[in-house]
């Protein structure tokens, strides 16, 4: 189990997301996704694949850390664990043990916008997996000893995260970058606040968000639409529709950043520089162009930023940074694109920061036909070598607001 660090979700309004707007012409044939909905609001997407005799059943709940009560951070994460620990008709851990006994495996992850659960197993048992998933959608038990045990597990994960320099740096970074929006914290949660979270608090969250009209069931594998439909109707059909869940983050929109924020923090471990920019929500039409920019700048050994940061200086024979790159934190609400570099020598911090700004500026300035543009681009929806069409917006997006910057410096 893990807390997803990076996840792109166009969740609200599942159907339009599944319909994939602007289907690009150059993508090779992709198998079709078949979708349907139940009267209780549950959305279902089925992708048939007969490559292997297996099926993956996933249930996505539109409930992430941004939906948590501010004083109980980690609530969403608790469900990633609790959902395996007993329901009205399944004893604790039997869900997992049954899937494993069939040769399959289960997993779950929480991020800022959603929590999802998956069961991967031989395809002939798809009905069983759907039955187990429907059971825990509404029948979870809230037993104090079980909750106390799982809280310990979640808190251990939080401590583990806090022990990793990168995660620690990112947490501090987000707290500076977001002043109002709940993306200021990560999905892992806060141990102290979880201690003060009661079974009743958890039950309340469950009753609000773990409802068919707030969930998406995804089935991929060697199955037919008819058999999935039959099982889904049988098990999920009788569940009553819930109330529309509130979205607390809607009242906490992040105000536009008007000045550069810069903070130097002495943490521990290796030195880290993080420089990031606010970007639009994952569903924004500019996101593809931005992802392309992120890819060119900071994904893969050959990307510009990585090359620049890791190139050996001919004089000193040293590289600016030990490693670096750029990550996109794209969410339902406006996210961030963050350049990261790790270094051992604190004297490198300033030149690294300068290099990051410079590479971003070069990209924003470039015009069609400039020397680097000619590099063919692996656009997931485009043709190699094609220049992204929305360069102006791309530049605007990158330049919008001011960068929030954080350095976590550290010497042993």
């Amino acid at each position: 189990m893990r807390v997803a660090r990076l996840f792109i979700l166009a969740f609200a309004g599942v159907a339009p997301a599944l319909a994939a707007p602007d289907t690009p012409k150059s993508v090779g044939k992709l198998p079709p996704v078949e979708t349907f909905a139940l009267p209780n609001g549950l959305q279902i997407a089925v992708l048939r694949s007969d490559v292997a005799p297996t099926v993956s059943v996933q249930v996505w709940y539109h409930a992430g850390s941004k939906d948590e009560p501010r004083e109980h951070r980690g609530t969403a994460h608790m469900f990633e664990h609790l959902m395996f620990r007993g329901t009205d008709h399944v004893r604790p851990d039997v869900h997992r043990a049954s899937i494993e006994a069939l040769g399959g495996f289960v997993n779950a992850a929480t991020d800022e916008d959603a929590t999802h659960f998956s069961d991967t197993l031989p395809a002939e048992y798809v009905d069983f997996a759907l039955q187990l998933e429907a059971e825990r959608m509404r029948n979870l038990k809230f037993l104090k000893p079980v909750i106390d045990g799982e809280r310990g597990g979640v808190e251990a994960e939080i401590r583990q995260q806090e022990a990793a320099p990168f995660a620690l740096g990112l947490m501090r970074y987000l707290a500076v970058a977001y002043t109002k929006h709940p993306y200021a914290w990560t999905a892992a949660g806060n141990a102290k606040e979880l201690d003060a979270t009661s079974p009743d608090d958890l039950k309340k969250f469950y009753d609000i968000y773990y409802q068919p009209n707030n969930a998406l069931v995804v089935v991929v594998g060697k199955v037919t639409l008819a058999e999935v439909k039959a099982s889904v109707e049988k098990y999920f059909g009788p569940i009553a529709k819930g109330a529309d869940p509130p979205r607390p983050a809607a009242a906490s929109a992040e105000p536009e950043q008007t000045a550069r924020r810069h903070e130097v923090a002495e943490l521990s471990g290796v030195g880290l520089t993080m420089v990031g920019w606010h970007v639009p929500a994952a569903r924004d039409k500019d996101i593809v162009a931005l992802e392309l920019a992120q890819h060119m700048l900071g994904t893969g050994e050959g990307s510009r930023l990585k090359t620049r940061l890791k190139a050996s200086d001919p004089k000193t024979k040293r590289a600016l940074a030990l490693d670096g790159g750029m990550d996109a934190f794209l969410h339902e609400d406006p996210g961030m694109m963050i350049a990261v570099a790790a270094f051992a020598d604190p004297a490198q911090a300033d030149p690294i920061e300068a290099a990051i700004f410079e590479e971003v500026a070069v990209l924003a300035r470039e015009r069609t036909g400039s020397r680097r543009r000619r590099r063919p681009i692996m656009d997931p929806h485009g043709e190699p070598g094609r220049v992204p069409a929305r360069r102006r917006r791309d530049r605007k997006s990158l330049g919008r607001g001011c960068p929030a910057r954080r350095q976590a410096l550290l010497l042993p």
Partner: protein, 746 residues
Amino acid sequence: MMRTLLVIAVVAACGPKSAPAPLPMLPGDGDTHVAKPPPPKPPPPVDPWTGRELIGFPQIKPPGPVELPKIEEYKLGNGLQVYVVKNSRLPLVAMQLAVRAGRMHEPRARLGVAELAADMLVKGTRKRDATALAKAIDTVGGTIAADSTFEATMLSCSVMSRNAGTCFELLSDMVTQPTFPDAELAKLRDALIAKAQQRLDDPGTLASAHALNLLWGNDHVRGWVNSEQSLSSIRRDDIVAWHRSWFVPGNAMLVITGDVDPRALRGDVERVFGAWRKAPVPPTPTYPEPGLSGTRIRLVDRPGLTQTQVRIAQFGIKHDDARFFDTLVWNHALGGSGGNSRLARALRADGKPYVAVSSFDRNIDRGAFVVSAVTRNNDAIATTRLLLGEIARMAKDGPTAEEIAAAIIGITGGYGLRFQSTADFGASIVTAELHGYGQEYLTNFPVAVGHVSLADAKRAAAEILSTKAYVVVLLGDAKDLEPALTKEGWRYEKMAFTDPVSAPYVPPEVPVDAKAVASAAKLIEDALAAKGGKARLSALKAFKLVGSGMTTIAGQSVPIEIARIAVLPDKMRLDATVKPPRAPRDIEFSVAVTEKAGWQRGPNGPNGDYTVVEMAGDALTTAAFERWREPELILLKASQPGAKLTPLADDTVDGKPCAVIKLRSPFGSIDVTLYIDKKTKLLSRMTFGDGGSIENDDFSDYRDVGGLKIAYKRSTNGGGRSTTLDLKAVDLDPKVDPTLFDKPAK
């Protein structure tokens, strides 16, 4: 009420200690030794699920064959075996190139060469350097990787099918024309050395390595574990030689899966890989299997650990053993199915909150069967006993019919997961074909598992599991474990966690015969003559060498200047100036030794202060050894009457053949090994081992100075550091200020 009592109890615990009882208690006084009535049992917790209708396990279907697309198979003229599987669901293609060159093929003197060579394959070819390779694959959004296992090196490449040509080109480039650039080698070797060192911080990995070493011994490839010593001895020419002998088409297979047209593809395969030059496949090294009678226990002491790693290992089976499927089944029941397995259940039933698993190698030759667990220190012996008991029970009674049924469901159900992605399918073909199994094996695997009967599984468990011949490794804090082991009467060998796992490699000594010693002496004579002659060297009274280069400090490469002054016979001084870029000032180090004393001077704290320390004990011995092994004079030491010389097997330094001679030093177990270039007769390398690590000094660019040949290029490797130096000035018999050797005040 409860709360009040608790508060009182806490207050009482925090209050002053009560005064001792005025009279000593005797047995029979009070109730200390009186049998108490059993405390009332707490009511059993209410099971919230009692009486409920629970969701039951689904109806199980018998395992059948897996429907797989057809595998097309052909062999190129150069011997390369090719497998192609068409699967057009997604516009992707995955290629895997497996070469039978893994850890099992490594020479003992170069453990780690398979992994290092694999890592180096993506670091440069004749057409592309490391960056160009990365860019070539990045620009098509693909991935490329190389890795090595016990049996093979695997190169893999995945791209969208329209870019299949990129994969062809890069894979063939990497496998046939790698350049193994030195600069990349140094980085990757350091990374592997760091990994070997990290093993010390990972109790689980270290315990497993010890278990295999204890089981297979130091004369079998399965017992060898790479180390800083073995890794730092790997040079570029070793990797080139490794690649040249094993990376031949007849020793490799290419598997292509995905959205391809097999017929059209054949032309591309022939064109790209047909050019790979045919060469004979070397025989796979074989080692006699060690026997094992009785049990052996090794305690690996890691002070401070609160948990103990337990490993129980014995010999397993080969993949082609007729009992392979039976073994899959009984092992699934014993410890191969996580929390449901017998070992885990037995630990739980005993109230031990630990996990235990069992596994066995699936290799072409016989591997090991290993049980692993982690326990608290005070529970380690009891846990080991419990695990041994479960192994014995499985050997005696075998699995139950229910366990067999569960194992068949679990193994066959999990089998299908191997074919989920295009690359997974390719990997499954490689794994099967490496052992000579084809499509039928892959398709009917579940059927074969389903046929395992109770009698088969019982017989296999009884035959394979030994209750007498096995090894046990306990890795934990000896302070906690030794009393328990002694109490138990278990005999054990003890090692420190820092000790090398497998015995360090010692080059085989050519049997000492007078003729060999004479030839070694002759080699030294020739080397002395090449150096400028014994008379000229003996006449030297002093010298000064000044050079500059780079060295590693705290993992960083920094510029360094060094001056080395010797006044014979016994005075020596070394001054080093390190110039860290951006640092406010240079850092100086000095060391000086005279006949019986020595001192060193170095920075103390960040303020630019220096301290001078008088050398004593080990430091003085180390300095004396350094003086003894002075490279300019070592040949004189080797030519002295009584010098103990042992000729070793020839080797190469940077591709040049060298004669190798070991020279016994007067410093206990430390010897130096001299590599003398067969052509020039000049000293190319000098090494010495110190415990687990080994230091190498390499010499090249010899120039004539005052009748002596002096190496102007020098490099030192070892202990995670490397230094390269270019000499700038060489002064023979200079005037040396005698006060240079006096200890300075600050």
